[in-house]
């Protein structure tokens, strides 16, 4: 199994579709199938991917609905993300905040670092920022690992700035902040396990898709 063919003419459509499917928590193997179906169909029909399959977000919705064994009402989506991904992003952000604040507190107790208003605002606005980032900046890359690592680095920088510059609203002892922060980070980053988008047509031997 290898990465999909990067020479495909509708590359930007494929990238947008990949992101939309990733945001809906579709497994990498299934995304590979969907992309291969789009490539195969457009090669046969001569149509553009957008002409044959419609907007990537709408097609991703149709794929998710078709994957469900028992169709039910769509779960609440925020910017195309599933609630589970938004919860993971929030856990990552809060974990980073606690770990950063707790670490600084442990190193310089006299500075009395704490969670301030800006940091609190960041916690509340964080999931929204991550949603916007993934949907806009993230379009350039379909690889979930790189996207999450970059968003984690961004969250870290913003959290560090917020905690370091903000006036403490209340003080959280580092002995509490660090373990809770680590726990939230572990919960939030569980989605980082490798789940590459694999091209089912790349193998030499045909295989059953199911």
């Amino acid at each position: 199994m290898t990465e999909p063919d990067r020479s495909y003419p509708d590359r930007s459509y494929m990238d947008e579709l990949t992101i939309a499917l990733r945001a809906r928590d579709v497994p990498g193997a299934r995304i590979g199938e969907v992309l291969a179906e789009v490539r195969a169909h457009t090669a046969e029909s001569g149509e553009s991917a957008r002409g044959a399959f419609g907007p990537p977000q709408a097609y991703a919705d149709a794929v998710v609905a078709a994957m469900q064994a028992h169709p039910r009402e769509r779960p609440l989506l925020l910017g195309g993300l599933t609630p589970r991904l938004v919860a993971r992003a929030a856990a990552t952000l809060v974990g980073v905040l606690l770990l950063t604040g707790g670490g600084l507190d442990m190193l310089s107790p006299e500075a009395a670092f704490g969670i301030g208003w800006a940091a609190l605002g960041l916690v509340l606005a964080g999931p929204l920022l991550v949603v916007v980032w993934i949907n806009q900046v993230g379009r350039a890359s379909g690889h979930a690992r790189r996207r999450w690592l970059t968003s984690g680095a961004l969250a870290w920088l913003v959290a560090l700035t917020a905690v370091a510059l903000d006036k403490p609203l209340w003080h959280i002892p580092w002995a509490v902040a660090i373990p809770v922060g680590i726990m939230l980070l572990v919960l939030g980053l569980r989605g980082l396990r490798p789940d590459p988008v694999a091209d089912p047509t790349a193998g030499s031997q045909p295989r059953r898709a199911r």
């Binding site: 199938e33 179906e37 789009v38 195969a40 169909h41 090669a43 046969e44 044959a52």
Partner: protein, 96 residues
């Protein structure tokens, strides 16, 4: 869709063309593949990737045993429905 796959192993674009020829009009990929995916999720069809004459391979679909049974059931239901409708249209006014 089940009926077309039931005619023998086939692939997405050929299914769209077959449906178009019998009068269903142009079936877009965005409509076709989610239905095939749904049928596959429900275990009514099976698929495999094979060689394609153009570009990157083809995904071939075939009916499973459960799909064949479902096709027979739906065909029977459809025949019963069309027979009822036909009777109603042809003889309904005489019964009034």
């Amino acid at each position: 869709m089940l009926s077309v796959v039931g005619e023998g192993e086939t692939y997405g674009y050929a299914i769209a063309q077959r449906l178009g020829r019998v009068g269903f009009g142009e079936i877009k990929g965005g409509t076709l593949y989610p239905i095939l995916m749904r049928l596959e999720t429900d275990g009514l069809i099976d698929s495999r990737w094979g060689e394609g004459s153009k570009g990157p391979g083809r995904k071939f679909y075939r009916l499973t045993d459960a799909g064949a049974a479902e096709l027979a059931r739906r065909r029977e239901q459809w025949h019963a429905f069309t027979k009822l409708t036909e009777n109603l249209l042809n003889h309904g006014s005489r019964d009034d």
